[in-house]
Amino acid sequence: VQVLSSRFEVGVPQHDGRRYVHEWHQLNTGEVYEREYGPVDVSLIDPTAVADNFARQMEADAAREAQGSD
């Protein structure tokens, strides 16, 4: 699996001021993988870097899973 592009959207503040962040990752399979993380204080993170890091990790995890682990 390769992630061709990623984007994100920061949600409305939750009760404690933290927010959920929604990510969309366009895969080379044609699928779009979505996830939502948080709630998190978005002033303490870089959502672009988080999305990029997640994409790279997803590629690495997929490669490892393809090798089999059991």
Binding site: D16, E36, D61
Partner: protein, 445 residues
């Protein structure tokens, strides 16, 4: 015949292991002579290190389990437990396998198992690799191996084991390492933590049919990007509750789409002092708590009102592939028995078009048989071959911040309880790639 055995690195494997003065020097020396029902006392000063891989198979059975206990050797047998004994391997590929005979049972207290010092190949710690029960308390599992494939592994492949790990520490030397649960294994991790330092990018690696309960486990030393797992395997039941997460956690409960029949849940886990967080991931979508889009008078943990955000994925489908909510349970008292009742669950979504009963519905299992605890199913699902009808509109008051077309509706299930007792309800979202907010408060009238 069951005996007390004594292990002390100050001893010798030429000894009989019958006392501290006669202690064996290595666990392999003890393992060579142990019998069912043995209690193996390990000196608090014990520290052994072997270049080669080590594999132990203890003789314990259900009737006469093996107990391995680290204790202060000032007394014989020790009267004070300790947690300072170390069993290590130093080879590049030298793992530690901690097993018991098939159908056997072993209990281990206070040991550090340290595998593969300095090596960058695979040197894993394998706990219980036969069909067996294993218990570990106050132990440390340490991968000194820097090999990316090294792991702390529960069970052997496709061998049913039950492993319980109480107040134990997990230590890693590569971000690619993890706690791996083999197929058909059941694991409970209660208390303990992942030790600071090099921490895994994904804490758990799962295999098919694994059943895992993690509670009171401290993950706050992990990186903020740590995923609990990234797993597409099937028939997994994974539950985390009352755990501490890393600060500013940006990871996922499952960074993949769960496999067939797998259910991943996280209850009350956070880095902040909250008590209402919930996450769920299945093959057909995800759920999480929501504290802005909530119903007035809706679910509340005593401080914070919350709802559940249900987000189906592209695979959700009517009637058999919905994203299911967790169960909402409500008690039916004797005064409500024998008369038709309605159970109502409120929801809101962002669309001028109402959700139909073929897209989102409620299902209730109630005690519908007089004289027996036999449950019966009721729901407000649309007909199998129908095009569906809009679920009832609702006048409930919701905060709908961020919505363009908030549409308030409700599911109403009619049923006639024949016995007092609990009704188990769940919401089922079958509309693909859709989001709805559900108040988990069930009103029975």
């Amino acid at each position: 015949m069951a005996s007390p055995r004594y292990l002390d690195s100050a001893g010798s494997d030429a000894n009989g292991g019958t006392s501290w003065a006669d202690a064996k020097a290595t666990l392999a020396g003890i393992d060579a002579i142990d019998t069912t029902g043995d209690t193996i006392y390990v000196a608090h000063t014990h520290s052994e290190s072997t270049a080669a891989a080590v594999s132990y198979t203890f003789a314990g059975t259900a009737a006469a389990p093996t107990k391995i206990i680290c204790g202060n050797k000032a007394a014989q047998p020790p009267t004070t437990p300790a947690t300072s004994a170390v069993i290590a391997t130093t080879g590049n590929t030298s793992g530690i396998t901690w097993a018991v005979a098939s159908s056997g049972i072993v209990y281990t207290y206070g040991l550090t198992l340290d595998a593969g010092q300095g090596g960058n190949n695979t040197a894993s710690i394998i706990l219980s690799n036969a069909s067996s029960l294993s218990f570990f308390e106050a132990c440390t599992f340490k991968l000194s191996s820097t090999g990316a494939s090294s792991r702390i592994q529960f069970g052997g492949a496709a061998v049913p084991c039950r492993t319980e790990v109480i107040n134990c520490s997990f230590q890693f030397s590569s971000t690619s390492q993890s706690i791996q649960v083999q197929s058909t294994n059941a694991v409970r991790i209660a208390g303990g933590s992942i030790v600071a330092g090099t921490v895994p990018s994904a804490a758990f690696t799962m295999n098919n049919n694994a059943q895992v309960l993690v509670e009171g486990f401290d993950l706050s030393n992990c990186a903020s990007s740590m995923n609990i797992a990234s797993s597409a395997v099937g028939a997994v039941k994974f539950v985390m509750r009352n755990c501490k997460l890393p600060a500013s956690w940006t990871g996922s409960l499952n960074a993949s789409t769960p496999g067939v029949g797998s259910v991943w849940e996280m209850f009350n886990c956070d880095s902040a002092d909250t008590h209402y967080h919930y996450r769920r991931a299945t093959q057909f979508g995800t759920m999480q708590d929501e504290t802005t889009i909530v119903r007035s008078g809706g679910a509340n943990d005593g401080v914070t009102t919350f709802s559940y955000k249900m987000a189906s994925n592209a695979n959700a489908q009517f009637p058999h592939q919905p994203l299911d909510s967790p169960e909402f349970v409500v008690y039916v008292p004797p005064s409500m028995v024998g008369v038709s009742r309605t159970a109502t669950i409120e929801f809101v979504h962002d669309s001028a078009t109402a959700l139909k009963d073929t897209e989102l519905w409620a299902e209730a299992f109630y005690l519908g048989t007089s004289g027996a605890p036999l449950g019966a199913l009721a729901d407000d699902r649309g007909g199998l071959l129908s095009s569906g009808s809009a679920q009832d509109s609702s006048s409930a008051s919701w905060t709908t911040t961020g919505m363009t077309n908030p549409n308030k509706q409700k599911c109403v299930v009619t049923f006639t309880p024949q016995e007092e007792g609990y009704v188990h309800l769940r919401m089922r979202l079958a509309k693909a790639s859709y989001t709805a907010y559900v108040d988990p408060v069930v009103t029975v009238a």
